[in-house]
């Protein structure tokens, strides 16, 4: 199996080449098979790998393949090599599994494109899969970075897929550049790692971390902080989250795959992957947790008032990513990854469902022009959406409950009651805005035109099947990680997920030991979070089903707050004012004043003008009158003589 690891990324890459070079000529039919097919095949290999891995004794579950030495110059060396351990295997399963479903879904969703666009779409999507696999499989930080940038590129390309609309292209560009700001930190982190360890390979760095770095020392702190800057960019945390809502300009399956299920979680993966470093830098971990919690709450509040269905989901994603960082930030890496997985299921589903709705409404995304779709013949969409909404809201026994609850519990357990409180409030808000979305979309009166109403239809099977699969996963996906607090009373259902990842996070601070004694408070907290989720659910029902005028009244009542949220705290505007405009002004200054004015104008052309001026002077002396020539001559002669006789 180890020798075949390369196949995992190579299959999607083959798809890229085929779709990119021949796709347009091959036609949509072929592409619609090849595109998803390669990812499916890749999934199959991943599955085989997974089983190969499970076949190994716990603790030795790691496969490694070095393909070739990529960069070797001076002391620096980096290889193209793949490392599959339980953590990467989990990620690979998500990437190829969810990825495959979304590929399939896309076949239906993108059917309106012409052959060229269709091929282009699948080229990008395959390329994304390839890059994402590199990211999760890379055996060194640099290769991780390669995948990191690669997925960023695909994100750029796919957000701007419908490039003839200037806004889409701009959104893509924004995503790329904001990500680059994060990458700056990531790169510095890599440099620090290299100059500290002399290597960037995980196999060299992670086991040596404790020996090389002083625990709690500045170097460990800075390494982790810079790496986290990269994660902040990629995973859309404060303050670099601004690109993600705009990224909704891309086709909806793209939002599902890239901006919900996989790419944006890369930051979480990266922190988990380098947990050995983070454990040496508690201060950095605290920052991670703080940022995560803050982002979770912050994004959730914005999500409350958005009217664009995808924007709500986008803010929801940001918020959920915040949860994950909260989890890894309190060193509950397993919990973070667990939430990552369940989130991939239900958030992908939410997006796909939203896509289905949008598809049915021919591109309409404004929830104020939806409503009552539950009665208009979209059963699959409706039911799967409901499952996903319940899951994300943390209603047991759906997937979201287990993972979210685990994070909250670990936060509490790690001694961060404030962070727990933030997470707790956010859980309520999550239920509120998600059900707001759900009710606005599927319940109440249809608020679109009659013409639209007549055309509402259920999506084709290529879209429906992935919805169903994901729906099922949203429901049962959480059961792989049932906490001991529930599992044990139910007859000793073990936490399969935790056990699976244990070899990776063996050094996890709150290890298995804590699990043995189940503190009663865990149940209390669990109940509280279920309660607040239910409260949110009911609140949404009250405001959007029972008394639809309530939101308007509230918005008038708390006008300032409402405007603040509607305006998304005006963060984009503030950035524009504080960063973008000054930078552009400075650039223009550098060009016009420094370059044109000082360097070229004063120094370069000024010298030229000086010489020309001198030329004029010399020329004026040459009067044409021989008398003046004689005078100059005599003056010169006199000067020479005076030098000799007087000097």
């Amino acid at each position: 199996m180890e020798r075949l690891l390369w196949l995992v990324p190579a299959l999607p890459l083959a798809g890229v080449l085929f779709n990119g070079l021949l796709g347009r000529r091959a036609g949509k039919g072929v592409v619609s098979w090849v595109g998803p097919g390669v990812v499916g095949a890749s999934f199959a290999v991943v599955a085989a790998t997974f089983f190969a891995l499970t076949g190994l004794p716990n603790g030795e579950r790691a496969l490694h393949q070095t393909v070739y030495t990529w960069l070797a110059a001076g002391d620096f060396s980096a290889e193209i090599g793949f490392l599959v351990d339980p953590l990467s295997a989990t990620m690979m399963l998500v990437v190829t599994g969810v990825g495959f479903l979304i590929h399939v879904y896309s076949v239906g969703y993108m059917e309106g494109e012409d052959a060229a666009g269709f091929a282009r779409y699948f080229t990008y999507l395959n390329l994304f899969t390839f890059a994402m696999l590199l990211l999760v499989m890379g055996d060194n930080l640099l290769l991780l970075f390669v995948g990191w940038e690669g997925v960023g590129l695909c994100s750029y390309l796919l957000i701007g897929f419908w490039f003839s609309d200037r806004d889409n292209a701009e959104a893509g560009k924004k995503a790329f550049i904001v990500n680059r700001i994060g990458d700056f930190g990531f790169l510095i982190g890599i440099f620090l790692v290299f100059w500290s360890f002399g290597s960037v390979a995980f196999a060299d760095v992670l086991p040596d971390a404790a020996a090389t770095l002083t625990p709690g020392g500045p170097l460990a702190f800075w390494i982790c902080l810079f790496l986290f800057v990269g994660a902040v960019g990629k995973s859309a945390q404060i303050p670099l989250y601004v690109w993600l809502p705009d990224a909704m300009a891309g086709p909806t399956p793209v939002s599902a795959l890239i901006h919900a299920a996989t790419m944006v979680t890369a930051g979480v993966y990266m922190v988990a992957r380098t947990h050995a470093l983070y454990e040496l830098a508690p201060a950095a971990l605290a920052i991670v947790a703080g940022i995560g919690a803050a982002t979770a709450l912050f994004a959730a509040t914005i999500g409350l008032v958005q009217t664009d269905i995808k924007k709500v989901l986008a803010y929801s994603t940001i918020s959920q990513l915040g949860y994950m960082f909260l989890g890894v930030g309190v060193a509950a890496f397993t919990a973070g990854i667990f939430h990552l997985v369940t989130h991939a299921f239900f958030k992908a589903l939410l997006f796909l469902g939203a896509g289905s709705v949008i598809h049915a409404l021919h591109g309409e995304q404004d929830m104020r022009r939806m409503g009552g779709l539950s009665r208009m013949g979209m059963p699959i969409t409706y039911w799967t959406m409901l499952a996903a909404t319940l899951a994300i809201s943390g209603i047991p026994p759906l997937a979201g409950f287990f993972s979210k609850d685990k994070i909250l519990w670990k936060t509490w357990d790690a001694g961060h009651p404030v962070l727990w409180a933030i997470g707790f409030v956010t859980a309520g808000l999550t239920a509120l805005y998600m059900f707001r979305l759900f009710y606005l979309t599927f319940h109440g009166e249809f608020r679109g035109s009659d013409e639209e109403a007549e055309n509402v239809h259920e999506s084709p099977p290529s879209m429906g099947v992935p919805l169903i699969v994901l729906g099922v996963l949203s429901v049962v996906g959480g059961w792989i990680g049932i906490p001991a607090a529930i599992g044990e009373p139910l007859g000793g259902i073990g936490n399969a997920f935790e056990g699976w990842l244990a070899p990776v996070f063996e050094a996890e601070v709150h290890g298995a030991a804590a699990e043995h004694a189940i503190p009663p408070i865990e149940y209390g907290l669990m109940a509280a979070s279920v309660a607040i989720a239910t409260l949110g659910l009911l609140g949404a029902w009250w405001a959007y089903v029972r008394d639809p005028k309530l939101p308007e009244r509230l918005s008038l009542r708390f006008r300032a707050l409402y405007e603040l949220l509607r305006g998304k705290y005006w963060v984009d505007e503030i950035y524009d004012f504080l960063v973008v405009r000054p930078y552009r002004a400075l650039s223009r200054f550098a060009w016009r004043v420094v370059d044109d004015g000082l360097i070229d104008g004063l120094a370069v052309r000024g010298t030229g003008r000086l010489v020309e001026f001198g030329s004029g002077v010399a020329s004026r002396w040459e009067t044409g009158y021989v008398t003046s020539y004689v005078l100059v001559f005599f003056g010169g002669a006199l000067a020479v003589l005076a030098y000799y006789l007087l000097g």
Binding site: L71, D75, F163, R180, L187, W195, R584, V604
Partner: protein, 513 residues
């Protein structure tokens, strides 16, 4: 080696030029085809260098050494090291493409153009082959002339201004370097009693500090202008904007490398102490160049000018890497030289193709080209990404190695330079987006996609972009021993890896004390 291989490579274009000069001027197609044949043949002639050059072998290989001006101890002394081999091959690859790129662009004085192109080739190769400083200088100036004509005759509206500016700028630096060469030469005579302008002899000298400073400055000025380093760069935008496509390509692809190559091959080994003295200055200027070039590029309304300023930024990386004084950084620089030649060369070809279609370089007059030119869009995208430094493409390899290398010795500068990576994405993607995306612009209605000739130009470049990005090993391998040799010559022990503090500025300062 008994066969004067390098001489054959060096003078083949002159023979070709003489042949082409014999074709009647109105037989344009024949002239183009013959030049293409000559340049391709030339590439094939030199291609074996890739294999028969032995990286681990002698410092200079294929050496030819014949007395030239005996009275002065000047020799016709040629030889190549790993870096020259790569730059030579880059040059020879660019030339046939430049001919192809001029197929339609050049319609007037076709014969003169192609003759000059070939003469230019000889000038450029001479610079890369020269081991004797006099020979180096001769070729350094020689290549100025054809380039001056290429800009001045076939350039845009303000071509004369640009051509003269280009000429004067380079000429100033060159002449001051000449004085430096002579001072070094006489110092060698004083120290050893013999006259020589050979690099091999001069490197062996131990030039005293004060003199070294002045000489280094004389050399550095010439090279800094050519690179061009901030603040000696203002000739570049003018020259690039006005030059015809092929001219810009060669300018960016090869000529600018001569500055950095000059530092690598001459200034640094000849004046190791002065190099170290000025290291902070040059490194800081390089970083300023990186950031400043990126900033100014952002607000350019003209595609070519934007690319020109991006060159300032990219060459800043090369300089920074050279002055990292670590094997990693210098290797990165070397790769980055090649990369910049390929990527920026390709960008200028692309600018030329845009111009051939729309007759403008103004960014705002384009828009939405992706729709009508999908193949073009793909290639343009790849080249843009290469220029941004996306991993997997060539630009990343160079930039990353440079930054890693520099980080060891100057963490703060490396950090600042890394910001350049962000800025590059900003200006390149902004330009790309405006030209290729959005609603169809006024000049962009229904423009045809690439034809075969244009594909033939761009595909090899794209292939190289990917090759170096994915598998740079062959390139790195060929230059590593040369770079190590340079480091040995400049007598700086490579900083032990993993010792972070040893490489910080404070440590260097302490060492200076």
């Amino acid at each position: 080696m008994d066969v004067p291989y390098l001489s054959a490579i060096l003078f083949l274009p002159l023979v070709g030029a003489a042949m082409i000069a014999g074709i009647p001027g109105d037989r344009r197609m024949a002239i183009r085809q013959s030049t293409l044949a000559v340049t391709t043949l030339h590439l094939l002639l030199a291609l074996p260098l890739w294999w028969i050059y032995e990286p681990e072998g002698a410092a200079y290989q294929f050496v030819e050494r014949v007395p030239w001006v005996e009275a002065y101890g000047i020799e016709y002394h040629l030889g190549v090291d790993g870096v020259s081999v790569l730059l030579t091959l880059l040059t020879l690859l660019v030339m046939p493409l430049a001919v192809l790129g001029s197929w339609r662009y050049i319609q007037e004085h076709v014969k003169e153009f192609h003759v000059l192109l070939l003469v230019l080739t000889t000038g450029m190769l001479g610079v890369f082959f020269a081991v004797d400083l006099f020979v180096f200088y001769v070729f350094w100036e020689l290549m100025l002339v054809p380039m001056y004509f290429i800009i001045g005759i076939w350039g845009g509206e303000r071509r004369i201004y640009a051509a003269v500016k280009f000429f004067l700028y380079t000429f100033v630096g060159g002449l001051i370097m000449l004085v430096g060469i002579l001072a070094l030469y006489f110092y060698h005579e004083q120290a050893t009693g013999t006259f020589s302008t050979s690099l091999v002899d001069l490197v062996a000298l131990d030039v005293p500090g004060g003199l070294q400073t002045w000489l280094f400055l004389a050399f550095a000025l010439a090279f800094a202008i050519k690179v061009p380093m901030f603040p000696f760069h203002t000739w570049l935008p003018d020259a690039h904007v006005q030059a015809p496509a092929a001219g810009s390509v060669i300018l960016a692809g090869v000529l600018l490398k001569m500055g950095t190559y000059g530092f690598y091959r001459f200034a640094m080994p000849l004046f190791p102490e002065a190099t170290r003295t000025f290291l902070p200055v040059i490194a800081v200027l390089a970083v300023i160049g990186i950031l400043y070039g990126a900033m100014v590029a952002l607000v350019q309304p003209n595609v070519k000018k934007l690319v020109a300023y991006s060159s300032v930024s990219h060459l800043g990386f090369v300089m920074l890497g050279l002055f990292a004084y670590t094997a990693t950084g210098i290797q990165g620089s070397v790769i980055q030289m090649i990369n910049h030649g390929i990527s920026t060369g390709a960008l200028f070809f692309i600018c030329g193709m845009l111009y051939e279609r729309a007759h403008t370089y103004e960014i705002d007059r384009f828009g939405g080209l992706s729709a009508s030119m999908p193949v073009f869009a793909t290639i343009f995208m790849i080249v843009t990404l290469s220029s941004i430094g996306l991993p997997g493409l060539n630009g990343f390899v160079g930039e990353f190695l440079i930054l890693v290398g520099v980080f060891g010795s100057h963490p703060w500068l490396a950090g600042l330079a890394t910001i350049g990576v962000i800025l590059a994405a900003y200006y390149m993607l902004r330009m790309f987006g405006r030209v290729m995306f959005g609603p169809v612009g006024e000049e962009s209605e229904g423009l045809p996609d690439l034809d075969r000739r244009e594909l033939a130009i761009l595909v090899p470049l794209v292939a190289l972009i990917v090759w170096i990005g994915v598998y740079p090993k062959p390139f790195l391998e060929r230059t590593a021993p040369s770079v190590d040799r340079l480091l040995a010559e400049v007598r700086v022990d490579a900083e032990p890896a993993g010792d972070l503090l040893a490489g910080t500025d404070e440590a260097l300062e302490e060492e200076a004390r």
